[in-house]
């Protein structure tokens, strides 16, 4: 028997609740009632705790059963989990890291118990601020003005399929001690009757200091491309709140499948480069400044686990995949668009031809 997921239902009419970033409340799709997050959280706290225990037991049983069954799904089934929707009873088959989803049959948002409990419970969450409508509008304006975008791309692009996902991130804090040495010069020149004299003063520079960094994010999901997740930074941590599953209805979520140990190297690289850059920026007043030696040591103090809001749309066009990601808090949108060779040639010729005509006319007039 499949494990039952938890639906956040309206206390008034049992309709499905979803989190609205604009109001910061959970709203019912049927009766329109709105409830503060804390209220729904308190209502479902006990229910989620019981579900989590049942889930752990059921998952262990599932693993034993699938190992015994002769007709399996092959290698993939080891990473799949089966849940049942409490609204319509449908069986939901999800990836083992899925923590929040919606029932494909009745559309009810569903929270998978146990994915965010105990040691897996995130420390923080940044709730969605931009709605799906906002995300689609942003995507539309992103396409506008892109001179090389093929016409058929926008028409084939199924923007309604954009999905809000809470992406798991590791947040690393610490300090970086940097000790750097430079060779720098200052020059001044003056002219006599017969010659120009340039005097160059040479300096040995040393700077050493500590740079404290807070919560450098590194995404903890192997399904999310790191380039896209870094490109939509930064997140505004003033809106970060302690984690609650009440922010999740209406959105998808995954728990992490890349550990903090595997993620920390990326944070260290960025922290070290940041320290070098900030320490170097304290050298000023020179014409040239060349680094000759550096020593950067990192002291990690804190690691937190957080969920960050991201709107994502994956599109296939001409056999290629194009992924767009929008920061669900700040609205920053990134993505790689296809380039039409015909449009490039047309623009190239359209700019070069008139310039050639103008140049020829100028040369003719001069000659």
């Amino acid at each position: 028997m499949a494990t039952q997921v938890t639906n956040y239902q309206c206390p008034a009419c049992t309709g499905p609740l979803h989190f609205v970033g604009g109001t910061g409340k959970l709203e019912c799709e049927y009766c329109g009632s709105a409830f503060p997050v804390q209220e729904i959280e308190a209502l479902y706290e006990e229910k989620l705790g019981a579900s989590a225990a049942a889930t752990a037991k059921k998952q262990a049983e599932q693993k034993r059963q699938t190992a015994e069954e002769k007709d399996g799904w092959g290698e993939d089934e080891a990473h799949m989990r089966v849940y049942s929707c409490p609204s319509c009873g449908a069986e939901l088959i999800c990836d083992e890291s899925t923590a929040a989803t919606s029932c494909p049959y009745c559309g009810n948002p569903s929270i998978v118990p146990g994915q965010f409990s105990g040691a897996l419970r995130p420390d923080y969450i940044i709730p969605f601020k931009y709605s799906k409508k906002d995300a689609i509008a942003k995507l539309n304006s992103y396409y506008k003005g892109k001179k090389f975008l093929p016409k058929s791309f926008t028409s084939d692009n199924h923007m309604e399929e954009i999905k809000g996902v809470y992406v798991p991130f590791w947040l690393f804090s610490g300090t970086a001690d940097a000790d750097m040495r430079f060779k720098a010069t200052r020059t001044h020149s003056y002219t006599t009757r017969d010659e120009r004299i340039t005097k160059t003063e040479h300096y040995d520079i040393r700077r050493a200091g500590t740079v404290r960094y807070e919560r450098i994010p590194v995404d903890g999901s192997s399904k999310m491309p790191d380039t896209h997740m870094e490109a939509i930074e930064p997140f505004d941590y003033s809106a970060i709140v302690p984690f609650s599953t009440a922010y999740m209805p209406g959105f998808m979520a995954d728990k992490y499948d890349v550990t903090a140990q595997a993620s920390v190297q990326r944070s260290d690289e960025r922290a070290a480069r940041t320290a070098e850059k900030l320490i170097s920026s304290t050298v000023s007043g020179y014409v040239t400044c060349v680094p000759v030696a550096k020593d950067v040591r990192l002291n990690r103090s804190d690691t937190k686990y957080a969920l960050m809001p991201v709107w994502m749309l994956s599109t296939k066009w001409n056999g290629k995949n194009f992924l767009f990601a929008m920061n669900g808090q700040t609205g920053k949108l990134i993505g790689d668009l296809p380039i039409s060779a015909a449009k490039v040639l047309a623009w190239f010729a359209g700019i070069a031809a008139p310039l050639m005509a103008i140049s020829a006319a100028v040369i003719f007039l001069i000659s």
């Binding site: 892109k146 004299i197 520079i205 050493a208 380039i339 040369i363």
Partner: protein, 278 residues
């Protein structure tokens, strides 16, 4: 004493040059067209340059003179241009009543040169700008120690300038141009660059900017957004001076006043000229 000895040496050279009377100028000058007191030129160089200078001088009634000395300071207490003027005056150079002529003096000790003109026609033909162009004609050769070629260029270019002056259009800066007297011709290669290459490069740059806006997924190499304004603590700040280096660049010699405004700047002694290093 030294000055007297040098003058006597020069006089002896004059005597030797009189042995080739066919090359004596019609100007009653006490110096030949080409006088080499430094032994720079070979006999064949002299045999080539002397008749050439004579021919041009007689054709335009304007002396074309070359004097080469070891060290101009042996002849004068002034600078190299003073030396050239003194030689011109002392040896009564020049053609006709106004003593028209142009003299190029090379002093080998410090590689100085002086280019002077005297007389109404010569000063009109060899404007300040014209002397600059004339100097450009031979200085490259002298810098590479191509003496005969340099002197040939000097005589040839002088002839060209005298011809222009004879036709009423001496080589000079056009009025108000502040630049070259004539528009330089644009080579075919330069035309292709301006008409084809430059527009293509501009167009390619614009297309590149458009293309870059299509790709926005980039990794972030640093994380300054996660460092607060008070979170940089500098412990060591040392700026130690080590040493100073000095470089000197000679300035190009500029022509005397009025060069860019056109015409010829003539001193009270009646000479116009320029000098420099080669």
């Amino acid at each position: 004493m030294k000055k007297i000895l040098c003058t006597l040496t020069l006089a002896m050279l004059l005597a030797l040059s009189f042995a080739t009377a066919a090359y004596a100028s019609a100007s009653n000058a006490g110096l030949d067209y080409v006088t080499d007191a430094a032994g720079l030129l070979t006999a064949s160089d002299m045999a080539q340059l002397q008749p050439y200078a004579k021919q041009v001088s007689e054709e335009y009634s304007c002396g074309i003179y070359i004097v080469i000395v070891e060290d101009y300071s042996d002849y004068t207490y002034g600078d190299v241009r003073d030396c050239a003027e003194e030689i011109y005056t002392e040896y009564d150079l020049g053609f006709g009543a106004s003593r028209d002529g142009v003299l190029l003096l090379l002093s080998m000790a410090e590689r100085d040169y002086a280019l002077i003109a005297y007389g109404d026609f010569a000063n009109a033909a060899f404007t300040d700008y014209g002397k600059e162009v004339l100097a450009d004609a031979f200085l490259d050769d002298f810098r590479n120690d191509n003496w005969c070629f340099g002197f040939e260029d000097y005589i040839e270019k002088s002839a060209s300038m005298l011809e222009q002056a004879k036709n009423g259009t001496p080589l000079d800066v056009p009025y108000g141009s502040g630049g070259s007297s004539s528009v330089k011709r644009i080579s075919p290669g330069a035309k292709i660059v301006f008409i084809v290459v430059v527009p293509c490069v501009i167009s390619a740059l614009v297309c590149l900017i458009f293309a870059l806006s299509m790709k926005t997924a980039r990794r972030r190499e640093t994380a300054e957004e996660y460092v607060g304004s008070g979170d940089v603590n500098l412990r060591v700040k040392q700026d130690n001076y080590t040493h100073t280096t000095v470089s000197r660049t000679p300035l190009p010699k500029q022509s005397s006043s009025g060069g860019r405004g056109g015409g010829t700047s003539i001193s009270s002694s009646g000479f116009s000229g320029r000098s420099g290093k080669f």
